[in-house]
Structure formats: structure tokens, C-alpha cells
């Protein structure tokens, strides 16, 4: 596609998306929806292409090549795995058949449980243990560095009280209101302050990122007009 065509199409589509700001006016309101529907169709097509090119095609090529193997079990096992996966894929198509739903559900069970296992082990090894270690571990050189010690202490207090804030188990009074100790309430307030600070910083960073993109798009529109 020629460079000028790309620029013209980009310009028109950007205007179509920005027409959202003009509200639900006749004709103009339809432009935004049309752009979103184009986006949906193209995203589905690109997803199909990437799934085929990035996953299914390499696997198909691998099982034809006897010199490569995915696992230590050898090339024949690869064919069995691929065949089983194809069978599972076919079983997914049986979902509308009421009497055979249990077969489809067994495939879903395997997929969900494998995902859950990867999630549990990933959360433990990738997030929970490293973050806990980083929070409780003292920096190596703290001699005479009062500020670094204070920062480390603040991070520890912020992380622990922030976690405490997520505790929803409180004793209920007879009138239905919640009963919590003054100390517990204090911890929750400290944790909330740290969480609000973090959320404010995340919000500001997201705002800055989208503002940068908005500036770039407006710059593109003016550049095209000039």
C-alpha cells in the first residue's frame, strides 16, 4: 500500500473514532460505531492469522520433522499429543449437544486445571515469594544511612498494612454493624493511605500515557491538514 494511501486511511479512521466526542448525532454517531466494527473484524482476522501462523503451523511442521521433538518422549509422542489436542478441539464443538456436554466439560476441566496449576505455581514463585523477600530483606549497606533504613521500614509497613486492609473478616455486632479493634482500624487507615497513594500514581501515569497518544494523534491530524 502506498504511503499516501496509508496516511489518508489513517486520517479518515482517526476522525471517525474522534467523532465519538461529538455525541450521538445522526450520521456522525454512526462513524464511530463503523470504526469500532472495522476494528473488531480486523482484530478477529489478525487473531486468526497469528494463532494459525504462530501456534498451529509450527506444530504441524514439527510433527512432520522426525529430527525434532517437543518433549523427551520423542517424535511419536508429539504426534500423539497433537492428535489428542485435535480430538479435544473436536470435543469442544460438541458443546451444543446436551447429552454429550460432560465430554466438552472434561476438556474444559483439563484446560482450566492446567491454567490454574500454572497460575498457582507462577503466583508463588514469580510474585509471592520474591515480593515478600524483597519487602522483608534489609539492604546490604545500611551503616549510617538513616534515610535508607527509614525508607525500607516505610515500605515494609506500607506493604503489610496494605495487605491488612484487604482483610474483610470482622466480628459482627448483634445490630449488624461491624466490630473492629482500634488498633486494627488504625492499621487499615495506614494501609489505605499507601494504597490510595499507589492508585493515584498509577492513575496519573495512565493519564500521562494516554495524553501523549492524544497529543500524537492531534499532531498527526494537524500535520495532514497542513
Amino acid at each position: 500500500m502506498a504511503e499516501s494511501t496509508i496516511t489518508i486511511v489513517s486520517f479518515v479512521l482517526t476522525l471517525m473514532v474522534f467523532s465519538y466526542l461529538l455525541g450521538d448525532l445522526p450520521l456522525i454517531g454512526n462513524l464511530y460505531r463503523a470504526a469500532v466494527y472495522i476494528f473488531v473484524g480486523m482484530t478477529a482476522a489478525f487473531t486468526l492469522i497469528v494463532s494459525y501462523e504462530g501456534l498451529i503451523l509450527p506444530y504441524l511442521q514439527d510433527i512432520q520433522d522426525q529430527s525434532t521433538s517437543w518433549t523427551a518422549l520423542g517424535w511419536r509422542a508429539d504426534i500423539t499429543i497433537f492428535g489428542a489436542a485435535l480430538l479435544f478441539g473436536l470435543l469442544l464443538l460438541l458443546k451444543p449437544v446436551k447429552s454429550l456436554t460432560w465430554l466438552t466439560n472434561s476438556v474444559f476441566a483439563v484446560v482450566i486445571v492446567v491454567g490454574a496449576s500454572v497460575g498457582v505455581v507462577g503466583a508463588l514463585n514469580g510474585t509471592l515469594f520474591p515480593l515478600l523477600y524483597a519487602t522483608v530483606a534489609l539492604p546490604e549497606d545500611l551503616t549510617g544511612n538513616f534515610n535508607a533504613l527509614l525508607d525500607t521500614l516505610l515500605i515494609f509497613v506500607g506493604t503489610m498494612t496494605g495487605l491488612y486492609y484487604f482483610q474483610y473478616q470482622v466480628r459482627a455486632r448483634s445490630d449488624g454493624s461491624e466490630e473492629q479493634s482500634r488498633l486494627g482500624r488504625g492499621f487499615r487507615h495506614i494501609g489505605k493511605a499507601f494504597l490510595v497513594t499507589a492508585l493515584g500514581a498509577i492513575y496519573a501515569s495512565t493519564l500521562l500515557t494516554s495524553l501523549t497518544i492524544l497529543t500524537e494523534r492531534i499532531g498527526f491530524l494537524f500535520q495532514f491538514g497542513a
Binding site: A35, Y59, F108, V111, V114, G158, G200, Y203
Partner: protein
């Protein structure tokens, strides 16, 4: 519910539990010879233990890829149905889908369609996010004018001000750096740890068969 269906549900639960137990043990114990000390053959044992996870991951990756294809086929089927009922927008989805696939088949490796259509729409939608964020933020703060709202606004203003490239704002930039390094880092760690704990609890519930979302 018939007897066959009950057996089917029991089988699904059993398959889930068995596969989950094998997968988790394989992921935790596999490929980690240090767990078995300096014994001869510990590397082979660790490799052997990693095998079930390897096989199951390959299997599930292909199944997920196939389910994506089934999902896309379902999307097209739904839009064909909508088009038959006179919904004109579905024609746009089908046309853009068909044109993209045709473009890919006819001109493999050519990314100009991506540059001309996908990137501008994504960028423009991301740019609109800025206005939506401002609008949403102002509405929330209008409804909650308390100490937490004030703290939130103060942090947002500080981070935004510090992002300006002005030498006069150097003290604010130093404040922002400290804020990011200490309180924001602590709050983000608490959030991440909360998410990780939630993931572990949800995952273990699925592995133990307490949460049977696959029953559909």
C-alpha cells in the same frame, strides 16, 4: 438430572483433580535437581518429573489455539445471523474480516494494512481514554470529597507536575521520585501480593474441585 449426566459430572471432576495434582507436582518438583541433593541420577529424576507438565502444557497450548479458532468461527456465525436480521453493522465486521484474510493470503508479510487501519484506530481509542479518564476521575472526586479523595488528587497533581520538563520544578521531581520509590512501591507491592494470594486461593479451589466453573 439422569444417571449418565451425574457420572459425566463426576468424571469431569475426577479428571480435573487428577490432572491438576499431576501438573502441580510436576511444575513444583520438575527440572529442579537441587531438591534431590547430590544423589547420582537426580538430574534424570528431575527431568522425568518435569515431563507431565511439559506434555500437558503442549497439549493445552494447541487446544487453546483451536478454541480461539472456534471462538472466531462463532463470532462470524453470530454476525452472519445478525446480518440476516438486517443489522447492517455486522456487514462491516464480516467485510473487514474477509478483506484482512484476503490481504494476508495475497500479500503475506505486508504490514501496511495493519499500519493504515489497526494502528490508527487503536491509537485514537487510546487517546480517547485520556478524556474518559479525566471525566471519570472528576466525577468520582465530585462524589467523594474526603481525606482519601484529597490524598488521591494531591498524588495525581504531584506526579503530573513533576512530569513537566521545567528546571524550576526540580524539588517537586525529587518528591515524585521518593513517592514512587517508597509509598507507591509499598502500595503496589500490597496490591500485587493481594492479587497473588487471590490467584493462589482461586487456583487451589479449582484444583481441589471446589470451584467447578468448567461445568458450564
Amino acid at each position: 438430572m439422569g444417571r449418565g449426566q451425574r457420572y459425566g459430572i463426576a468424571l469431569s471432576a475426577f479428571v480435573a483433580f487428577a490432572v491438576g495434582a499431576v501438573m502441580t507436582l510436576s511444575l513444583l518438583l520438575g527440572d529442579n535437581p537441587a531438591l534431590f541433593g547430590d544423589q547420582p541420577g537426580s538430574a534424570q529424576l528431575a527431568g522425568l518429573l518435569a515431563l507431565p507438565a511439559d506434555v500437558l502444557l503442549r497439549l493445552v497450548t494447541i487446544v487453546v489455539a483451536l478454541s480461539i479458532l472456534i471462538g472466531i468461527a462463532n463470532l462470524l456465525y453470530v454476525h452472519v445471523g445478525r446480518l440476516a436480521r438486517g443489522k447492517a453493522y455486522s456487514a462491516i465486521v464480516l467485510a473487514s474480516f474477509g478483506f484482512t484474510v484476503y490481504w494476508y493470503v495475497m500479500r503475506p508479510g505486508d504490514t501496511s494494512l495493519l499500519e493504515a487501519v489497526q494502528v490508527p484506530i487503536e491509537s485514537a481509542l487510546a487517546a480517547l481514554l485520556c478524556l474518559s479518564l479525566l471525566h471519570g476521575g472528576s466525577r468520582v472526586l465530585g462524589k467523594r470529597a474526603d481525606i482519601w479523595g484529597l490524598l488521591f488528587v494531591a498524588v495525581v497533581v504531584l506526579v503530573l507536575l513533576a512530569s513537566l520538563p521545567l528546571a524550576e520544578l526540580a524539588p517537586i521531581q525529587a518528591w515524585r521520585d521518593w513517592l514512587m520509590r517508597v509509598p507507591v512501591s509499598a502500595g503496589a507491592r500490597a496490591l500485587l501480593l493481594g492479587i497473588a494470594l487471590g490467584t493462589v486461593v482461586t487456583g487451589v479451589r479449582a484444583l481441589l474441585g471446589q470451584d467447578r466453573s468448567f461445568r458450564g
